[in-house]
Structure formats: C-alpha cells, structure tokens
C-alpha cells in the first residue's frame, strides 16, 4: 500500500484547464460563449461535463439537440478513456487551455460508443476495476467486497471525493509483503504510433531472481522503441529505473488503464 499520501493526492487532484467551444455548425438561437473548466485527470468526460451541457443548451433549440460528444482537432474523444489519458494522447504538446469542441448532432457511431447515462460509465469503470483485480489478486479482493463497497468506490470517483474513494481502494492496493507486489501489474501503454489502441500484457512486479522490475524493464519488454531518453510519467518527474510496483502504487488507482506511457515522446 502506498505510504506517501501526498503523491496519491497530487495524482487525484491533477487538473487540466479546458476550454469548451460549441461546434460552429450547430444551430443556435444566439452566439454561444466558450465554457472554461478544470477537468480532473482521473475522471471521465461524461461525469464532469454536466455544466458544459447546461451552458450550451441555453442557446440551442431542443429539437436540435441529440447526444453530446466531444472532439479535439477533429478527433472524437472516447468517453471511456480517463481524461488524463485523452489529454496526454491528443493534446499534451498543445498550449493550455485544452481546446475541446462540443457537438450535439452527427454522433460518430464508428468512432465512439454511446453513453446515454452515467450508469454506462459506472459499468465500464467497475469492469476495469474487476479486470485489474483479476490481474493483481485473482479477483479475490474485489469479489470479497460488498456491493456497497463497490458503490462507494464509484461514488468517490463520481463525486471527486479522495477519502471516500481511497477508503475502499486501499483494499485493492494491498499485497502480501513476502510477494513483493501484486500477482501481475495492471497496465496499458497507449501509443500514437501504433494502430493498436494500447498494449496490455501480463507483467510481474518482481523478476525470477527476486529483483523488482522497473519502468525500464516494462518498456524494454513491451515497447523497446520508446526507450530513448529519460521521460516523464503522468507529468511527474520519473526515472525509468524506478520500481514499477512503486509507480503503480502511487500513480494509479487500481484500475486499468493505469499511468499512460506515451511512446512517441517520453519527455514531459
């Protein structure tokens, strides 16, 4: 279990300044002002954009409103990716605030999944939690939790409550001391230079010799092309020879995907 709560808080309260602008092709009764918001990196777009929707609905006719969706520079943003991953993937090299265009029509069915309610986000989030625990603890911890515990985990994320979330998540981040870490570390590597959405494979926290695997070891095995220079992870200074188990405990909240590694460039 991560001892340094300051790091956990820094990750949890990470924010991205964002400017939401209505798509010029939307039919409006008057001009729509942009809407500015600090988006939490660890959350999902449908959970934090109610105010954005309300703001733009004021200038639109009801009959012109369909499901809201977002895009950045022509690329639809997948709601089931954490916001931090979306930003790192699409806009980490652009100036702040992050510019997102809001649409209320022509939903891109090919590129995006529909998300009519927050229950979809909850289902996806809990599915990720369970998959991560399948890798870490053979699903024993998550299956031993009661439904109300699952609900608390979700509500903590939905309502941006760090203490409420971690009261439950700490159970999912524990491991036997003698093991040196989880059974496997849940991770995904998102790459802009690859057709695959992400790389996800089984990866042990400790080598057969008993040495802790590092981020370097992970990247060497999963995407050796990314090993060019020192880099940053989740916008925190990080050396590639940091213990990957230690990174996992401090930088992710037990779900898949955890910290995103940008293979095109590791420099923050």
């Amino acid at each position: 279990m991560a001892d340094d709560k300051d790091v956990l808080r820094d990750v949890w309260f990470g924010r991205i300044p964002t400017c939401f602008t209505l798509n010029p092709d939307e039919v409006t009764e008057r001009e729509a002002e942009p809407y500015y918001l600090l988006l939490p990196r660890v959350s999902y777009l449908p959970l934090v954009t109610d105010k954005v929707k309300k703001h733009f609905l004021k200038v639109m006719r009801t009959e012109d409103v369909e499901e809201m969706w977002f895009e950045h520079e022509g690329t639809p943003l997948k709601w089931h990716y954490p916001i931090g991953v979306l930003f790192d993937f699409h806009a980490s090299n652009t100036v702040l605030p992050w510019s997102i265009t809001v649409h209320f029509k022509n939903f891109p069915d090919v590129d995006l999944l529909h998300c009519p309610t927050n229950s979809m986000v909850e289902a996806h989030f809990m599915s990720s939690i369970k998959e991560a625990d399948a890798l870490k603890h053979k699903s024993q911890v998550v299956n031993d939790m009661q439904k109300k515990d699952h609900k608390q985990l979700w509500m903590g994320l939905q309502n941006d409550k760090f203490d409420q979330f971690w009261a439950m998540n700490r159970k999912l981040m524990e491991y036997p001391t003698e093991e040196g870490g989880f059974r496997y570390i849940p991770f995904r590597i998102y790459q802009t230079t690859n057709d695959r959405p992400f790389i996800q494979r089984l990866f042990r926290p400790v080598s057969t010799e008993g040495n802790p695997h590092t981020l370097f070891d992970l990247l060497k095995e999963m995407c050796p092309d990314a090993l060019t220079k020192d880099g940053c992870l989740q916008h925190l200074p990080c050396l590639p020879w940091t213990s990957f188990m230690s990174l996992t405990l401090n930088l992710c909240f037990s779900s898949s995907p955890p910290p995103k590694v940008e293979s095109a460039s590791l420099l923050g």
Binding site: D109, H114, A123, M126, E131, A134, L135, D195, S256
Partner: protein, 268 residues
C-alpha cells in the same frame, strides 16, 4: 490448456479448428488478424430481417385520473412465429439462440434489418475467450422510436449500452449499436470490440484453477446481476414508450379540438 485456463497459443489453435468446422458447414466465422502480429480474433456477421407487431395496452389507471396506457412494441422473430409462441408475454425478452440473436425492437408497421456482429478474442487478464457482440439496425425507417435493448452487466463486463433513440428519430437508417461482452467468469476487458490483447503467458506460475463451487457461485452471481440489470433496462424502456404514447395522445387531442373548432366555424 492447464488447470482450466487457456493460453493464447491454445486459443489460436482452437480457433483454427473452429474455423475448419465453420467452413465445412458454411457458418460464416472468419479469422481477423491484427496487423503486424500473430494475434487475431474470430469474427462473424449476421443480417436478419425482422417484422414487428404492436400489442394491445395491458395497463389502465383508475377512471378520473390521467389514464395511461402502456403500449409496447415487441418483436416476434421468425422462429417464434413458426413455433406459435405467444409473443405478448415475451415482450423484449432476449432470445439467444444457438450462435446468434440479441434483442431488438421496432415500432409496429415497420420492419428492420438487423446486423449482429460477433467477435471472439483472447483476454490475457482472464485467460479465457471473450465474446463481444454488437447489434445494430440498418437502413430501416423508424417512424417512432427505434431502440435496441441495452444491458449493463457489471459482473459480466458488458461494455456499452444504447438507449432509445427518442421519438421521431430524424435520422432514419442511422446505425445504432449496442456493444456488449460476456467473458470468462468475471467479465471481460473494457475495450472496444476487435481489439486484440496479447498475453505473454507466464512460464513460472500458472494461475490456480477455480474450484467448481467457486465457478458455480460466480456464475450464479453473474446471472442474478444480469437479471437485475435487464429488469432495470426493460422498465426504462417502458417508461420511454409511455412518454411517447402520452405525447401522441396529446397530439391527437389537439387535432380533435381543431376539428371541433373548425366544425363550429363552418356552422357559423
């Protein structure tokens, strides 16, 4: 395969056997390879034209109050029609037959061409094959509300659900899709269909097999969760159809009033 789990090599081998059999019976399964790797997944697409019938409302409120009638659409598949199944009691019950059929619905007086797409790929997290399926309408005119039954299965890892289009869909023929997945005992990965995840099977410590009691318990939990969530979705659907019905009645009332007024004007 050892201890009741599947490694990716065995999965690929079994897929090839399935494909041989599928080719022999012209069943339509094919292998989709992931570019630049040995990985891949099974894929199958089905098209089915389904007629729709409208049922008589079953529920009426007390006189003197706003009477509401629940009018629901149900779908009678070709197989049900042949078997003389009483569809009025089946409503939107999922019909899973052999290797195809989800649940779908369309307003009375219209028929739809439904496309079912199935992907089977290997999950490195759960060490089992994972089924993704997607159901969508193709080019059908939907005068009322076109919808696809949605189900959110947390334990089973259903990834996405799509709700009703809403009344008077303006984009007749627009593709609407439900993506769901079932996999293993604990659900599947939270990724888009067609995504292949690689698995570097650990050479050191094969995961312990679950006992049959644990599997039964897990399966029972999954089934209970599935039934609970399906019930929720059906209730949502009924309320949406009720809304549509009430609006249609309001429109009819308006027209009646207009006729009466017109008649009086003529008399004058």
């Amino acid at each position: 395969m050892s201890c009741g789990v599947l490694d990716e090599e065995e999965f690929c081998r079994c897929c090839q056997l399935l494909l041989q059999h599928s080719d022999g019976v012209s069943d339509g399964w094919s292998w989709e390879a992931v570019r630049g790797s040995d990985e891949g997944y099974l894929k199958k697409t089905l098209l089915r034209s389904v007629p729709a019938e409208r049922s008589v409302p079953q529920k009426h409120k007390e006189p003197g109050s706003d009477s509401e009638q629940f009018d629901y659409c149900h779908l009678q598949t070709e197989e049900q029609g042949k078997q003389g199944v009483d569809a009025s009691s089946d409503s939107l019950r999922p019909d899973v037959e052999e290797e195809d059929d989800g649940v779908c619905g369309a307003p009375a007086g219209s028929s739809s061409v439904l496309q079912f797409e199935y992907h089977i790929l290997y999950s490195c997290s759960y060490r089992t094959p994972v089924l993704y399926f997607r159901a969508s309408t193709l080019g059908a005119s939907l005068p009322g509300s076109g919808f696809l039954l949605s189900a959110s299965l947390q334990d089973r890892g259903v990834h996405e659900a799509s709700a009703a289009d809403g009344e008077g869909s303006k984009q007749a023929g627009k593709l609407r899709a439900v993506v769901a997945q079932r996999g293993g005992t604990h659900g599947g990965p939270g990724s888009l269909p067609g995504v292949s995840q690689t698995a570097a099977a650990s050479p050191h410590d094969p995961p312990a097999a679950q006992s049959s009691t644990e599997r039964l318990h897990s399966t029972t939990k999954n089934l209970v969760a599935l039934l609970h969530l399906l019930l929720g979705e059906v209730l949502t659907l009924i309320s949406i159809l009720g809304t549509i019905q009430s609006r249609l009645r309001a429109a009819v009332m308006w027209f009646k009033s207009w006729l009466v007024l017109s008649g009086r004007i003529v008399q004058i």
